[in-house]
Symmetry: D2
Subunit: 249 residues, 4 copies
């Protein structure tokens, strides 16, 4: 067995067949090398800009389980940013932030159908029958429309992606509105799923992209935590609002 990710000897370090010092440092940014490591080749400038747009979109949204946990864990391990960030990232998952997989799987399946309108209708019908939400649609706060998808689609267009997956997501959106008889917004994770597919990123990698992005937001939270010690306040108000009581007999 071999690994093709990275290796080093006394005088050089190689990443995916590239010399770190000669070919990457100072020549390609973090986003480009992230693409190299996950997709196996350096991205075009347009692909890199699309990936940057997706990464920036997911970095932070203020108080969420990820940031609450990171603050509390860092307060218990001062100076150990890896403990705060790792603990917080454990809350990225099937419930929050790690949910673009579902939409991406759907789009990857539909992209080769000859009659896409019919396929969209069937997908909506199937989810309604099972009373399951369609991944990539709806948002608890951003109503009627999540402001991020239109911006992401515009960036993708500027970057010259082919746009087939984005078009399919929009078509699915029309079928959703028709099928449910009311408007459900395409949400940020839906749009990101489409954009990442446009730049050739395999579905199985997307959760990891969300995790990397969020680690950056958590770094910001840890900086503020050093100053405000919000963790102590979160603890105090929890104690106050959810007091202990002996269980009912």
């Amino acid at each position: 067995m071999k690994t093709h990710i990275a290796g080093s000897d006394a005088t050089s370090i190689r990443l995916r067949g590239r010399d770190l010092v000669e070919e990457l440092i100072g020549k390609h940014g973090f986003t480009e090398v992230l693409y190299l490591l996950t997709c196996g080749r350096l991205p075009t400038p347009g692909e890199a800009r699309v990936l940057d747009a997706c990464l920036v979109t997911l970095m932070d949204h203020g108080w969420t389980p990820t940031s609450l946990i990171a603050r509390l864990a860092y307060d218990s391990a001062p100076g150990q940013a890896q403990v705060g960030i790792a603990a917080g990232l454990l809350a990225v998952g099937d419930v929050f932030a790690g949910t673009m997989d579902g939409c991406a799987r759907l789009l990857a399946e539909g992209i080769d159908k000859s009659d896409k309108v019919a396929w969209c209708r069937e997908v909506v019908q199937a989810h309604r029958t099972l009373r399951k939400p369609i991944p990539g649609f709806g948002h608890p706060f951003h109503k009627p429309d999540d402001p991020r998808p239109p911006r992401l689609f515009r960036v993708a267009a500027e970057c010259g992606v082919q746009g087939h997956h984005i078009a399919l997501l929009r078509a699915l959106g029309e079928a959703v509105d028709a099928g449910y008889g009311r408007h459900l917004t395409i949400n940020a994770t839906g749009a990101i799923a489409a954009l990442l597919l446009e730049i050739g990123m395999p579905v199985s990698i997307m959760r990891g992209i969300a995790v990397v992005s969020r680690s950056g937001g958590l770094a910001g939270h840890l900086v503020e935590e050093q100053q405000t010690h919000a963790a102590r306040e979160i603890w105090r108000i929890t104690d106050e609002h959810i007091p202990y009581e002996d269980p009912p007999a």
Copy 2:
């Protein structure tokens, strides 16, 4: 108490006083927004390029505790990239990858001394007396010289940083060689400490930057793990090389 990191309402999301959709997505990349979240303002293009160079340098080095752990944890939680990455990041710390803090603290202390040559000599003398390694110097594999620092210094120069911290690190390097009577290389974490100080990053944030960078490398490892299942091989060879034996009576 307030938070100034991020917040949202029905129609907008704000990060550190900026509108995510209008001002950031598609206009600033991940590296720039990471700087915004941790340092409180958007970086100049030169600062962003220096930060990118530091992030890229630390992303991955092949088999290390971080990548071994990430592979093993992901194999136990397939599809849950956050589990693999979080577990792996817990190995960033005082021993590996999280070690630029020490060198940065030293440089931040020395930068205001009037007689820097004398200060360098004293620092070397103090560490020799305590038989403690000087943070930022020496490398187990890269001998005589770590190939990354010269490249990082060149990038910094191209980006027009002032260079005072880099000059201090070089001066310290000369004092190290003189004091120990042999050449010890400035290593990558030493160079990164100097570069991050050049772009105004507080010492208390640097560990977090290393964690964010490494999360990108781990994303690459998880992609390969899906194909090669190295975790099973690591398990198998450990069983073979470190067998169980009843304890001696």
Copy 3:
């Protein structure tokens, strides 16, 4: 909202309605208080002994992803046992060690059927049709029979449990052998699922019991790691057996 788990004031600490100092410390052991915290009442001596038998069974099995990860993480964070143990526990899950849930859900469903033999036959048939393994059966190393289930059943009988879930698991085992035309052992997680149901533990708690048990095994591994530094050896042999190679062009 209230919490009924634990609370304290200046002079006392209460756990689930009990005074920690007056009623628990020195009067009830860890296993009994674990039952109190998870099931809401103190166990009978028999129930406590059954839970102890289950906890002891899962504590450790030598090299597994949990112990490999714990060793590697602890080597990177010396003296920080919480980092080693937490990292290792992340590998308890759907693949390893956390698998009694599936068998327990099956048994909980079958226990109320009037014709249990028919139900067992149907369960086997359904899993064969879907080509899915039946949770609680089969073992990669322990063939023809896992040595733990007979011992666990004996302990349960000595402790005076009713035995309905154990009987159902045995009946399912006969249906498995008949349905597959060859013998598949009841494995440890299957037996533990039945025993925990016998002492009234809800299915939704069982994964947590496995995690607590395994934390004890990992504590043992960290003790040995302090002496042998196996992590460094695991790293070295991985480097040797899975070398880096540039990706094929």
Copy 4:
């Protein structure tokens, strides 16, 4: 290199030289096997009862960073108890719950001094000079006295331990009161440090014991979280009490 923790073959599993099925399951409880795995031999009944008392003392105290984090992480990974418990355990450390190490190191150092009264006086003097708290003394809520140490000392006496470390801790307590001119309580971690030394547990293992104990408390919290969803409430009240505001210009 060998491991002496655990191993298995087709028909048996061995832990530290014992046959799991024949010698441990149903014959020794979790606490005894934890002692076996960490200390290398089975404990006497008295030693086991002392260890049980220590484990029970640390299991849970209601809302603390550990329980807050575990609740939030579990809410994001429903059914994955290992994620909730592992995330929570990361908050056991130098700040909370993992603090018996310091007191134990102190006692282990003092136990061989011929003039213990003088040694106690010096320790107090040294800490006062350095303005450092003496580990094992003082408590933010339990004043004037932590109710747990007297109970723990009574259990230890009933179990027939020699009592030299407990006597030393008491002597240190008298020197503390005299040196500071006011009463500082011996706290639970101080008492536990003394008790664990009495049963021959190495200082380097104690942090791990705290982690194992706390994992049991967190299992209880996850059970309640399934019913009350306190995590959502913690999130909601944090949003309310610590709102986002654009940073000051």
